[in-house]
Symmetry: C2
Subunit: 390 residues, 2 copies
């Protein structure tokens, strides 16, 4: 199946990301779904969509499990089957893989994939505790480890081994906030200066407040169909030509190296091979910048630059909106926000806009091939998708 | 694809079900996986199994989300991709559907599907609260509703409309405990008398302690492959010939009727049609007896008897081990136990044993076609699978 479409995205939708007070996750999900439905007038969603795969990380935020049928039915998908997929921050990236398999299996012609997380109703220390459940309970949480701590460990090793600097990490934040300022759905639509990032409050050295992604409420949705049905249903469609997923060791202490996320690297190799493209063929990418160091390691794992060169790569301007390989045109998790369960398909939403020439002020000229890089936890899960404009 | 195998089960495994002190969910999962691996000597699991789909209901029991890569890697499935599927008590029934789609998609030749829940480390009132997250937070939990309460509502309407009696519900418990007493993996391997059930402590009228399934630790695993590869890999394989899943309204107050679980009925119709079989063709079935009334409604929804006749059906002896349609030969959720995330594939494990003539003292003679009926929550999710011996 090298280079052939696996499934085709005929629409995508996003809720407004941010601190969304007074709404439940189900309402955010319906908002994202409606915005996807509005793009495909030929579709009768409640009749035509035959199954839903919905990413969500935690039932702790709203004391609500079994979320998929709730979210699906609030979006009008009923009585079609719905299931929740959970792989920490890679939940909806993983859900997308289920959607692709559902289409490829021949069981369904049209399915909905999405993700949602309602986080801000819990106080921040509680959110930190909930997020920590994506790390290992006996080996990491029990010792007081939190996510900023885990990624700070990776950052310090990267600094030690390759001379990566705090300024280089800050440059990721500056770039992504610049992009996010152009995205009307982003949580934090404002630019930040290098100085502001470097002087922001220390979270876990060397990571400062502006090195961290946002605690955000939001939802995202994409609609998939068989490649041959796409044209009949939508004027703007994008093919998925590569999908990859792999595991790295769950705990950091078991890894051979802390300067690479092997799960993402393996997933990328699988997706590149399936899509029959190379890193230099990618025109636009959404990377999992849960912390600025994660984007730097991402450049390397995806082959955008050589190992250890990620810091220099961002300094070079290559991943800028007008650079040779624009990364996180949406603003990324850093500025658009990181409602964990929604992040995977929110990345796909941005690529859908880019590859159908609908990204407005963030549009990358002549974008033909896009890549999404979605991590779960501290990288125990890596999911990579490659998309191609039609 | 009517009547054709969708995917084939080449092995199945179960952990010992029960109060398993001092072990984590990951260890239970590895135990179930190993017991499945032992049945297929031709397989090199860590090399040949290419993906894992793992059902688990709640991260609250062990403060552990992102469970799939942990469970998979402890079972030796690494670095193959793993994802968690959550649909309350239908989590691993739903995971099985992902496994089937993964095989049918052509992306993978061999995958592992399973489920796990470690529940008894939490005190019972806490477990009741965790289970309640599978019901609606604003509309049900908020009003103090718990699962025994929800099923008690169904039971009272069934009694009112059809004259179903407490004795008929108790007969389900008596039958299932009789079967469970023959199952060395069951949590509660003992028979109970009608009198013991009727005199047991009231939980939520008309449901008494012995009308309720057990809070259990356990895990279950099945290994799937393409139908044409099965013979090469295993001497004992079973084809999946039908799969169905649907939603009913999430909350009971929105339903047209409380005496049927429409999601299960719709799922069954879909599975019967796909498998090209009728209820009378089924030789052995595992039903979701989370409460005795659920099995009675299950008989009716699956077409084993007419609506309203479920009480009389169990009294007739038809679903007994030696009856015309043995139901819950494993002991069911009632006696084998109900580690929620593990239940869906634990049902499949029992059918695998029955259809490969390995069920020992519980063996149903000449069992050729089996059915599994798995509910999520109070029936918002219904999953039905139909299996055929080779």
């Amino acid at each position: 199946m090298r280079g052939k479409p696996l499934a085709t995205i005929i629409s995508a939708g996003l809720s407004k990301f941010g601190r969304r007070e007074g709404v439940y996750a189900r309402e955010l999900f319906a908002e994202a779904a409606l915005s996807a439905f509005h793009r495909v007038e030929k579709l009768d969603p409640s009749k035509d969509i035959k199954a839903a795969f919905i990413g969500q990380m935690s039932e702790a935020y709203e004391h609500q499990a079994h979320t998929a049928p709730i979210a699906a039915s609030w979006a009008g998908i009923f009585p079609a089957p719905a299931m929740r997929i959970e792989n920490a921050c890679a939940s909806s990236g993983s859900a997308l893989r289920c959607g692709i398999m559902a289409i490829m299996s021949g069981l369904y012609d049209i399915v909905l994939v999405g993700g949602v997380e309602k986080m801000t109703n819990q106080p921040t220390p509680e959110v930190t505790g909930i997020l920590a459940t994506a790390s290992d309970y006996p080996f990491e949480q029990w010792n007081g480890m939190t996510f900023p701590g885990l990624f700070a460990l990776m950052a310090t090793v990267h600094m030690h081994e390759y001379g990566t600097t705090e300024e280089q990490m800050a440059a990721v934040a500056v770039k992504n906030h610049k992009n996010g300022a152009l995205n009307p759905n982003a949580h934090m639509q404002k630019e930040v200066s290098m100085d502001e990032v470097l002087k922001s409050r220390l979270v876990s050295w060397p990571l400062k407040l502006y090195d961290c992604s946002l605690i955000t409420d939001g939802a995202s949705v994409v609609i998939l169909t068989k490649p041959k049905l796409a044209k009949k249903l939508s004027d703007n469609y994008v093919h998925i030509i590569g999908t990859g997923q792999a595991q790295d060791t769950f705990c950091l202490h078991e890894r051979e190296s802390l300067t690479t996320v092997k799960a993402a690297k393996t997933a990328a190799q699988e997706a590149y091979k399936m899509a029959d493209v190379r890193p230099k063929d990618i025109n636009v990418a959404e990377l999992h910048d849960c912390f600025t160091i994660a984007e730097i390691i991402g450049y390397e794992d995806l082959g955008f630059c050589r190992p250890g060169q990620g810091g220099k790569y961002v300094e070079s301007g290559a991943p800028d909106l007008k650079g040779s390989m624009p990364v996180n045109t949406s603003g990324g998790l850093k500025s658009k926000g990181h409602p964990v369960g929604a992040t995977g398909t929110a990345q796909i939403h941005e690529l859908y806009l880019q590859l159908t020439d609908q990204a407005d002020r963030r549009q990358v000229k002549d974008a033909k091939i896009g890549l999404a890089h979605n991590l779960g936890g501290s990288g125990a899960t890596g999911v990579v998708h490659i998309l191609k404009g039609s």
